[in-house]
Amino acid sequence: MNTNKIQHVSSPALRLPLSPRPNPSGAGAKLEVPEAKPLTILRASKSSVTIEDTIPQDVFEQAVDQSEALNDQVREQFVVGGRLGEGTYAIVYAGYYRQNPEHRVAIKKIKLNAEFKDGIAMDAIREIKFLQELEHPNIIKLHAVFSTKDQNLSLVLEHLPYGDLEALWKNKDVAYGAADIKAWAIMLANAVWFCHANHVLHRDIKGNNILIGPDGGIKLADFGLARGFADPGRPMTNQVITRFYRPPELLYGARYYSGAVDIWSMGIVISELCIRNFLVPSNTDIEQITAIEDIFGTPTDADWPFVSTLPLYKMTFDPANIKRPRPHSWWLQTMGILGSDGIDLLRGMLTMNPLLRLDSQRVLYHPYFANAPRPTMKEMLPRAGGGLKQTAEDHVRMESERVERFERGDKVARKLDFGAMRN
């Protein structure tokens, strides 16, 4: 500002020290003392000119950091459009590539969180860390990340305008069949396999984190709770995965676990697609254990060695009330649409003992996917309306839901950091 103003003052003494020179004030060089006259004029003027302000702006611009320049370059690639939605923790904007307005994106701007005292929030760090590394057709694509002047991080994400899998099975206007379920299942299985092959646990797989792309393909999203595989012997938190999708070992308080946790969640998602309802809904963690045991039976050391040593197992275990698992006929009746091979796969994914549960590799190799009917081509999959608005709503919702459950100063988070994790 005020660059023009200073140029009116035609004192050579003034111009001299102000013009940037390659190597100014060489050894012993004496600066001419500026005359006081222009100075007083300057000071007298009501404008708030300080020396700093009189330096032409381009001096700074020439001298931007390389990384700052790089960031600006990235930011320049995108045109940020209207605000699509706003949640407590993120604002989502419509956007597109400057070079190609056809190429639309969703720009998720993480809000600064005043409550989190430790700087950039963990969920933002995790999401960026893992999405930067994972490139797969069934995982949401992170086009770029940039920061804005007010130090907010913006994630440029794939534009996914057609809602999510949970909205899909809830939408009674959408009809789908066995081949469609198989198509969704194999895409999800691919995504999960890819995460695990890259040694990443997603830890929040559920219907509404699985988004539907413009080509009908599904994309696993929301890596805010993801983490790399832990070294053997290093504990992890069991306070992850949305309750309906949380596997029994986490409910029993296991602190050492594997990709098997994601497989359980995936099994629940597929079963929900079949019954178009939640398989094991509940209101509390205890209820969740009950709901699971109602279907899968109460695990004992006989069928799941050492399960009784898990920290929270004893809390619900009642020797007088050991439940038996539902018979195979129940599966045929409820999940009949999958066929017997599909039921075999599903039961493999929903095995109580995580060591016996199928891993992501074995899920993919299951004959169900090779058998008839062939999975529907993704372009032919049924879907609901969707649209730009939906994308934003999905991103905002995912963000705030997760955050409310696991992060940022609520009771759960405090427990997560200091309390339950001690032992």
Partner: protein, 428 residues
Amino acid sequence: MRLTEDDLYRTSTQYKHWSFTPAQLADQRKTTNISASERVKQNVARKRAAKAFDTPTASDNGSGVDTNGANTPLRTVDREVNCLTVAEEKKLVDTFCERALELGTFLNFPTEVTATGIQFLRRFYLFNSPMTYEPQTISRTAMFFANKVEGAHLTLEKYVASFPKATAEQVLAPEYLIVQGLRFQFQVRHPFHGLKGGHLEMMEMSRGNAEPLPASEKTKEEIQEELFQLPRKPNGPAQDMTVKQLQGRMGNAYALASKILKGPAQLTDAYFLYTPSQIWLAAHLLADEPLTLFYLSTKQALDSPLLQKLLAVIRECAALLSSHHSYTSDQTSPAEKAARDKAEKEEVQKLIKKLKQCRDPDKIDLVKLNQAQKRDAVKSEDGGSGLEESKAKRRKLGREKYEKEADEFFGPELGKKNVAVDVETKGV
């Protein structure tokens, strides 16, 4: 469907954006050095001009001789800014990486947290100069950020408490700067898991349990037998070891290699120039050459072109690792090591002194800078027209104050070992 380690590594940001040839690395450092030097000179010039400009008013009350101050002499004689060279910058960064390593040990950080923090520092200073951003400040923040990235979860409060003189604000101020300098790529691929895996595989071989590759001509029993006879040193006499002796040898090799990975591998350009598996194999080669060569020969015939090519790279990497002054092997004498360390220390002290003379005056107080940035952003979002006078003044005063304090920047060393901070792995 299986992804090989190579497939996985090639899709990583470490491979795509943080791997270089030596020439590329040198070029990048040169670019950074030139642009930082130019900026330092410009900003110093501006400061001096500003100072000269202010002098008359300052002397108004004092001398009273000349009310317009036209003849007031300048108090200081300006010297030419003597900027750091590329090599000096690198040396400084290396030094602060070493200090970061000490900090990690002091804080009981898990290995990968410290290692990630150090690599963040190295990556950051590929695009930024220590003249612009003071390495002690940056390393403190980089280490805290690494702690978050690796999910170790030491809270800021506890982290800050472990420094004699640091505030939460100071630690957080450069966070965005660092995140941006890392190009928002936070995953660092370390060689630790690879080493562990290789070691476990060798242990299985020693038990005669390791299934050879389909192409291999040896049976698992033959592999075990050959291991028993493996010479201790290259071209040494054949041995006749028991399983226990062999496993002891493997354990020693693992321990030494692991030490190299935690030290020299972090403190050199190894991560920029080599892949994690090349690095661990190089470390293992330094630890026990015959064992490492034998291990490789169970994967590929030793005289195959592929393995020869790989070996050349591994030896190159091993040379880099063993060139670091912290490297010790059986061959390094204590006197030799002491001499190396002493020379190192003297050089570093000189450099730190030099750095004080060529700091970018605009970037000394990152806390203020950070606040100003946020404030400006708010202003511009409001459509405001710049800063009010009082704020500008206050900021200027603050900046000057911090310039004075700049000398103290290198003052406090890392805290004494009296604050025990327990970063037991709280898992996430």
